[in-house]
């Protein structure tokens, strides 16, 4: 799946910052659990692979919809297709929050200033509604491939 090296651009430039990732990984684990250095490197490589996977699929979703810009909704669809449907709710919440934060600033004053700002209760209700929508989409949509759990009773 490796795209050919683009002249003048090294693929190595496009990787995740090692120090940040090491810190993040450490934060997920109890203090007495360590990670071998080459395992750290492998984890980072897996991350890049994941980004490439999701990007590619999102791009395909985008093309199929005949759009030119990859939107967050395309990412959601891609996650579902790739078997990561369980991520949809949190990913949805993450970019909606981001959108809301950017929107709040532009809502102050201007044509939207007639009470468009939402109270916290209204925000929560809105969030619940969005989750329900995302869940409905997840359940009612295309069949998601069976996912193995940690103890893995399912053969791939």
């Amino acid at each position: 799946m490796d795209p050919m090296d683009i002249v003048g651009k090294s693929k190595e430039d496009a990787s995740l910052p090692k120090a940040t990732m090491t810190k993040i990984i450490k934060e997920m684990l109890p203090p007495d659990v360590r990670v071998a250095r080459d395992a750290q490197d492998l984890l980072i490589e897996c991350c890049v692979e994941f980004i490439n996977l999701v990007s590619s699929e999102s791009n395909e979703v985008c093309n199929r919809e005949e759009k030119r810009t990859i939107a967050p909704e395309h990412v959601l669809k891609a996650l579902e297709v790739l078997g990561f449907g369980e991520y949809i709710e949190e990913v949805y919440a993450a970019y909606e929050q981001h959108k809301h934060e950017t929107m709040q600033d532009s809502l102050k004053g201007g044509k939207w200033s007639n009470g468009a700002e939402m109270t916290e209760e209204a925000l929560l209700a809105e969030q619940q509604r969005m989750f329900a929508e995302a869940r409905a989409r997840m359940n009612g949509g295309a069949a998601v491939p069976k996912q193995a759990d940690v103890d893995s009773n399912v053969e791939s």
Binding site: K11, T20, L29, C46, T69, P72, F84, G85, V91
Partner: protein, 102 residues
Amino acid sequence: MASSQPKLTAINSGIDVKTTFPTARVKRIMQADEDIGKVAIATPTAVTMALQLFITSLVLIGAAEAHESGTNKITVDHLKQGISNTTQFDFLHDLVNNTKDD
């Protein structure tokens, strides 16, 4: 959550990471792919969140393998084992099989 089987993922593990994920870098990685054209402003945020969930899941799976083999240090082998036991991580098979063993 829709799933009925308990899965060790970021969602139900209650893990909260304090360090922020590098969204700008995620965007750069996305656009390093020649086929990827324009990307909406919120899209890297979405991908970054997915990445966060993914790596949490992978790390926990590695930790479970390490724990099962009686050690507190996660190795490449533990990750390999965890990955081959997880259908969701099939896309990583080539990557890990090209990695040298310890």
